[in-house]
Symmetry: C2
Subunit: 225 residues, 2 copies
């Protein structure tokens, strides 16, 4: 299996690339700067101890090349400021592929707040921009880059997955489960308004130091002991 | 300490009344029907094993009487359809009190979706209706009535608290902590758009049976083990 991660040179994209490669998935990092993507791919390959038959291969190229190289799942991990422009550029290449949107529209200069687009959320904006033929799945918003990059530790929080296409969500959930985390279908794309907005609340808790750990995550939990 | 719970004869209100009385807080149930509130109060008092010095006293009256009887915290636990009408009726009585809004605007006939009011959330609608002089704190949205009413078991999920008045939030957090649960300040009232919307996602998970337990809750979690 080969996936693309656009914005793959950022902290979130790098962490996901490392985790997926360790789970045996080939990863093509996409960036506006192909040589930068190639450089980061080389660096990440060294971090996971080179390449062998069990690990996935990490490579890097431009965004368009990464989309074309992916089997059928493309993870969008760019800053929100580049969200729509990146989607517009790759839209013609996305037929028969699933766009996995992990972008959180954080307010400019305030990571404790969202500034949602008119469509309601990044995931809904992506679905509106790409049209109904290309399924958009929102996922992986609430797991911190710090956590993703700490390869010696498990990702001990749950992943909420939303979108309007059930079959696409199930494929994305199966992909995420390769990272040894629980991933739950929490409903249609409109629920991304909630899922994306959880991230700044977690960032707020981290900043406030009111939780006895840093880089808080979220778990769906049995209410009674 | 004496609090009021409006809509206190419903399943959420009853569960909260039982839990708070067990923690030593006096609870006045409010209802449009005072005799019904009185009846339920008698029933709940029997459920916790009568009244003694350690338990809080549960009584019942009409909504206005309950607000007047409360020291300074009034929990609003009515269905969303009665949210604004109840607030309009009690507004003149709320000076120097804190309104704790636990209402989730579930879509009519679909508990897996929210139908948010124009203000963005129930908490924001309450704040707009009551004006800035009366602090509104959103809390306790994501803990199921089933869980609250199972008195033999701890409430093993976290409570997210939001609102625009920090001092009011701190009082509400201190109140909730009497139930032996963690309660976190997750920011201003606008974040109720997210916090309230978590409830139908949990209901969806319960209905889907994709979680290995029923009446799912939520926990803020250390990301790494």
């Amino acid at each position: 299996m080969k996936i693309a991660i656009l914005g793959g040179t950022g902290p979130q994209g790098r962490g996901l690339a490392l985790r997926f490669a360790k789970s045996g998935v080939d990863v093509v990092l996409g960036s506006r700067d192909a040589s930068r993507a190639h450089e980061i791919a080389t660096e990440l390959t060294q971090l996971i101890g080179g390449s062998n038959g069990e690990l996935g291969v990490i490579s890097g190229t431009d965004n368009e090349g990464a989309v074309n190289a992916a089997d059928n799942m493309v993870i969008l991990a760019v800053p929100f400021s580049a969200h729509n422009a990146t989607l517009t550029a790759i839209k013609p290449l996305l037929s028969d592929k699933i766009l996995v949107d992990i972008v959180v529209p954080l307010a400019e200069g305030n990571p404790k707040a969202v500034a949602m687009p008119a469509e309601g959320s990044a995931t809904e904006a992506a679905q509106a921009l790409l049209g109904n033929e290309i399924p958009v799945v929102g996922a992986l918003h609430n797991v911190s880059a710090h956590t993703l990059n700490k390869l010696d530790q498990a990702i001990n929080c749950d992943i909420l997955v939303c979108g309007n296409d059930l079959a696409a969500k199930e494929q994305v959930i199966a992909l995420i489960q390769r990272l040894d985390v629980a991933a739950y279908n929490v409903g249609p794309a409109v629920n991304a308004r909630c899922v994306e907005a959880i991230t700044p609340m977690l960032i707020r808790l981290n900043i406030s130091k009111k939780v006895p750990f840093s880089h808080a995550g979220l778990k769906i939990w049995a209410p009674s002991t």
